[in-house]
């Protein structure tokens, strides 16, 4: 009965104790190695094929990440004036706080020169403010404007007389719209609203956000107005920018280190040949928590993403369980390079639906904003997909595969092609701490 209770409501210490007791299963798994030998020639061919594309795919992922980093910076000179732009990478949501995220800064500069309350933006859109600094991990906590206790001053773009306060979400209908509080006038006007912090805020750093876009004002059938944001707050935040005063003591930002070249990878190999449970696609790999492998860590075959170490459970000491592409429920953040115009796009969250009838992984993709007005209704475009940041242990820029993407907003099923199957490779690498972060 106790085991049933622990199974239904996992207790981390009990789970970890069982993992330690059963740690020798890592060697028991080796007993089944002959099953993998049967296919070793195919594995070698698959590895060789990937090795040939290694440089090209690695560079393409890094270039896409660089493009998105540039896209996260505002282009309007007025929005850059008197400000220094500090790029950061969303590394995950803060546990227990849905409307707060961790923003990873370049460890070479750390959190130096980042003041509390510094605004955080994405392009010309306001996203939130720095709420906490974590210098040990070179990251800061950002409270998003969608938070219930978040407030920011705003003004109507075309009518400076109409002021209001924004913060939190409007209603509970699942649509992400920002709530409007205390408008200075009752008469509704359509148009966009931008940040204008009240003068009584003595800290100049808050005023760095003045002029940044919040969204389009909308009249609600019942109750007060709301604002449709221009950013997908749920899963579209990968690369962001912190605004700091131009006279900051922070040194100039350095070029980012490509994910595949940052030394944060450890060679590993498969221990199992598949999962007998219906609908599951998992793999056990060599190396566990003792080798520095953590829940959620990415697994690549040469350069291609093949899966993540199970983020829902602790990692046993000597081996790790990986959820592969094609495992139902696998969650990824995805960005893409469109074939049509070679543009870089943040797609957001993909949730695995398992293997499709054609034997390829399928995902559900909720696209709240669509790919843009430049596409016709119902048009589909081919794209190369890469991982995006925002999930623990999953770095950005890893090749995922090719897919045909619907361009309109809504929920879509996306099927991957040209993807790498983790069960067909021996040359596997698992994500650990990058060298720069491991240094004292």
């Amino acid at each position: 009965m106790a085991l049933v209770l622990v199974s239904l409501r996992p207790v981390r210490p009990v789970e970890q104790a069982l993992d330690v007791i059963f740690a020798p299963t890592r060697w028991i798994a080796e007993l089944a190695a002959p099953l993998r030998w049967v296919e070793s020639a195919r594995f070698a061919r698959e590895d060789e094929a990937l090795a040939k594309m290694r440089g090209e795919e690695g560079r393409a992922g890094a270039d896409l990440a660089l493009d998105l980093r540039s896209a996260a910076e505002p282009t309007e000179p007025a929005l850059r004036l008197g400000r220094r732009l500090v790029p950061g990478l969303v590394s995950g949501r803060v546990k227990g706080k849905r409307d707060s995220i961790w923003l990873q800064l370049d460890p070479r500069n750390g959190t130096i020169g980042i003041p509390l309350s510094a605004p955080v933006v994405l392009g010309e859109a306001f996203v939130g403010r720095v709420a906490q600094l974590d210098p040990d991990k070179s990251r800061c906590r950002v409270d998003l404007v969608t938070g219930r206790d978040f407030f920011v001053g705003a003004v109507h773009e075309g009518d400076p007389g109409l002021r209001m306060t924004l913060g939190g979400l409007h209603g509970n209908d699942g649509e992400a719209r920002l709530a409007v509080h205390n408008p200075s006038e009752r008469r509704f006007r359509t148009g966009r609203v931008r940040v204008l912090e009240p003068q009584l805020l003595s800290r100049a750093v808050s005023h760095l956000a003045d002029g940044y876009l919040l969204g389009r004002l909308r009249e609600e059938s019942e109750g007060p107005w709301s604002v449709e944001p221009v950013v997908n707050f749920k899963s579209g935040l990968f690369q962001l920018v912190v605004l700091v005063p131009s006279d900051t003591e922070r040194s100039q930002e350095l070029d980012p280190i490509a994910t595949l070249a940052d030394g944060g990878w450890r060679a590993t190999g498969p221990l199992s040949a598949g999962d007998g449970l219906h609908g599951r696609r998992t793999l056990w790999i060599k190396g566990g928590s003792l080798a520095g492998i953590e829940p959620g860590a990415a697994l690549v075959a040469t350069t291609r993403f093949v899966g993540r170490v199970d983020p829902a459970h602790s990692v046993p000491p000597l081996s790790a369980r990986v959820r592969l592409l094609g495992d139902a429920g696998l969650e990824l953040h995805v960005m893409a390079r469109l074939d049509e115009d070679f543009s870089a796009r943040v797609l957001g969250r993909f949730v695995g639906l398992g293997m499709g009838p054609s034997g390829a992984p399928e995902f559900e993709w909720e696209s709240p904003l669509g790919l843009g007005p430049e596409f016709q209704t119902g048009e589909r475009v081919m794209a190369t997909l890469y991982t995006g940041s925002g999930l623990e242990g999953l770095p950005e820029g890893l090749y995922l595969g090719r897919a045909e993407l619907p361009t309109n907003d809504g929920k879509h099923t996306v099927q991957l092609t040209s993807w790498a199957d983790g069960l067909a490779h021996k040359d596997l690498w698992v994500r650990t701490k990058p060298l720069i972060e491991a240094l004292p």
Binding site: F22, L35, G274
Partner: protein, 189 residues
């Protein structure tokens, strides 16, 4: 070496572990191939049921024989843990559940008759399938669970492996008992 020796039993236990690992890995290998996935039988379960049926019902109550049953559950759990995506607690609970299920049928019935083997194997596979899906569902967030419900549902093809496991039980369970070294574990108990 005699099966009743402590050394003989230890070797028998190791052989059960080896065969269980092989059978679990084979089920996993089949489950990962799109053409075979829907038809992968639970071979480890058949080995487990076959050996458990030979551990005498009355003797199982005695202390030394519960060690035999415990050893079987540990061996099967270790073997399954080396390939499965489940945590250890649900794996252990699953095997104990199967043991109780078989124990229920043993009251007054000979569970080694072909028809009962078929029924028990089918019932146990179905029970394990439901148990695994309950546990796996808890790993996923509410929103994701709804999305993947169809993948894990019974009509997505899981019934085929239940039927196949049940159908193979009368044939494969006697073979499982005759696997090299396995007899050292259950003979003489």
């Amino acid at each position: 070496m005699k099966p009743t020796d402590r050394g003989g039993r230890s070797i028998g236990w190791l052989m059960v572990l080896v065969w269980a690992t092989w059978l679990e890995a084979l089920s996993g290998w089949m489950g990962a191939r799109p053409a075979l996935a829907a038809w992968a039988p639970d071979l480890g379960l058949l080995l487990f049921l076959a050996i458990a049926a030979r551990l005498g019902a009355k003797l199982m109550a005695k202390k030394r024989e519960t060690v035999g049953t415990f050893g079987l559950v540990v061996a099967m759990s270790a073997a399954e843990a080396s390939v499965s995506s489940l945590g250890l607690a649900p794996i252990l609970a699953g095997w104990l559940g199967v043991l109780f299920f078989q124990g229920f049928w043993r009251r007054g019935l000979d569970v080694e008759r072909p028809l009962l083997r078929l029924l028990i194997a089918g019932g146990a596979t179905l029970g394990l399938l439901i148990w695994h899906h309950i546990v796996l569902g808890l790993d996923l967030a509410e929103e994701t669970r709804k999305l993947t419900a169809t993948v894990f549902s019974f009509d997505a093809g899981a019934w085929r492996s239940v039927l196949l496991t049940a159908a193979l039980a009368p044939v494969l369970m006697p073979i499982a008992l005759a696997l090299p070294g396995v007899g050292l574990y259950w003979r003489g108990r």
